[in-house]
């Protein structure tokens, strides 16, 4: 399984077709990401040649996405990351990758602690 997995097991739909993510940690991370999305978008359109989120390259601008290169390193992309500058792909978005990774680490830590 990829580190990017959305953990679709945790996704449900309510009676109006709305996404309901049952894992509270992933839900919180996604909500944070939705809130930050506008600034991420602005950064990606600000002329950064590294193509934050667009090409899969780690951004170097250090503005909205500080830490992205680390996220990419952790994520260990196993496919060609250059998507030719087309519309971004969720799993290729460094903030999302890091958010999910953080959530999973936090969740796993919690499980480990409870087992201990």
């Amino acid at each position: 399984m990829s580190d990017f997995e959305l953990a679709l097991n945790d996704v449900e739909f309510d009676e109006l077709g709305r996404v309901r993510i049952t894992d509270p940690l992933i839900k919180t991370k996604l909500e944070e990401l939705f809130a930050a999305n506008s600034s991420v978008e602005a950064a990606s359109n600000s002329g950064c040649n590294s193509g934050c989120g667009n090409t899969g390259n780690a951004p170097t601008c250090g503005t909205a996405n500080a830490g992205c290169s680390e996220a990419f390193e952790l994520a260990d992309l196993d496919w060609e990351p250059d998507l030719g500058g087309g519309p971004g792909v969720l799993v290729n978005h460094p903030d999302f990758a890091k958010a999910i990774l953080d959530a999973k680490i936090a969740r796993d830590d919690k499980i480990t602690l409870s087992l201990d």
């Binding site: 959305l6 739909f13 109006l16 999305n37 998507l83 519309p87 792909v89 969720l90």
Partner: protein
């Protein structure tokens, strides 16, 4: 650019509505079977109730009218758009339509644009002699002249903001006249930035006509596009060849959690092409406007987000 994280955002809703699955055309390469007729008043009301229930929390709504030929049920289109526009006020409401344009006269077009349906995709198969070979009406007659009349009348409208994507289909037997047709389009619409060309090769998308469809190779498709581009028309030409789309894989609406195809019979699907597949029947809309969704089937369409395969996000139906 929009990140596909939006695919899970409950503030966004993308509906592709088929007000009828009947069509007044019988294009020789069409993949649809026209088995389901128009949307019943009960389904229309259910759809409006669904939109009403979701309206308050939504900030971006996209309604794409598809079919069949959606203009056959112009009354349903205007009813639902009027309802939605009243609910949304100043919020972002993007209306669009894929239509053969045979019924898109100026009066109806003005009304639709006023209701927020401002983007159109209209198909043409080449010069009249080529177009009428494949895009026939139900009676077997050619359709070019009526479409062209409507398009040129729409082009004369100067007080409206809209966009029209002229989807130009090409296939091996029609290549010879294609440069002439691009020149014809350029002369008619090249001065108007609201019009663009989208060059799309005919393909096999399922259905009874697949056996008689001739396809070009990917390389041949690219050569055709390059040749047409060398004509340097004023009108903007977009590349819809397989090679181009593979380079720039967008996330398909079918791979988004917040996108639904509303069939004319009230069933819900994810894909507008894979219409006969059971896996594409993901639920139904109830009379009270709620949805019954098969979560496991939904997750099948969303699997690209889980497995990281770009191709599953680009086309979850055929990968």
């Amino acid at each position: 650019m929009t990140f596909s994280i939006d695919a899970f955002d409950n503030k966004t809703l993308e509906l592709i509505i088929l007000p009828t699955e009947e069509c007044n055309f019988r294009c020789t390469y069409c993949y649809e079977d026209f088995a389901i007729g128009k949307m019943s008043p009960k389904i229309v009301e259910a759809l409006k109730r669904f939109i009403t229930k979701r309206a308050e929390e939504l900030s971006n709504v996209s309604i794409e009218w598809f079919g069949g030929e959606p203009m056959l049920e112009y009354g349903i289109v205007t009813d639902v758009m009027d309802h939605t526009q009243r609910l949304f006020g100043g919020k972002s409401l993007n209306g669009s339509m894929t239509t053969n344009a045979s019924l898109l006269d100026e009066k109806r077009f003005r009304k639709l644009v006023s209701l927020g349906v401002s983007s159109y995709q209209i198909s043409l198969d080449g010069l009249p002699i080529d177009h009428d070979m494949t895009r026939k009406n139900r009676g077997g007659n050619g359709t070019f002249d009526k479409i062209w009349q409507n398009l040129t009348q729409i082009c004369e409208i100067k007080d409206l903001d809209f966009s029209i994507l002229l989807r130009v289909h090409f296939s091996p037997e029609k290549l010879a006249n294609l440069p002439k047709f691009i020149v014809m389009l350029d002369e008619a619409f090249g001065h108007d930035e609201r019009f663009r060309i989208f060059l799309k090769p005919i393909g096999r998308y399922g259905g009874e006509n697949d056996g008689v469809i001739e396809e070009l190779s990917k390389i041949e498709e690219e050569q055709v596009f390059s040749q047409l581009l060398s004509l340097r028309p004023n009108i903007k030409m977009e590349d819809g060849t397989r090679g181009a789309t593979m380079k720039n894989m967008p996330v398909c609406y079918a791979a988004k959690a917040n996108a639904f195809v509303v069939r004319a019979n009230g069933l819900l699907s994810k894909c507008t092409v894979d219409l006969r597949s059971q896996k594409n029947l993901v639920g139904k809309i109830n009379d009270n406007g709620s949805l019954d969704l098969d979560v496991q089937k939904m997750k099948y369409w969303l699997r690209g987000h889980n497995n990281g395969k770009v191709e599953n996000l680009y086309c979850p139906a055929h990968t």
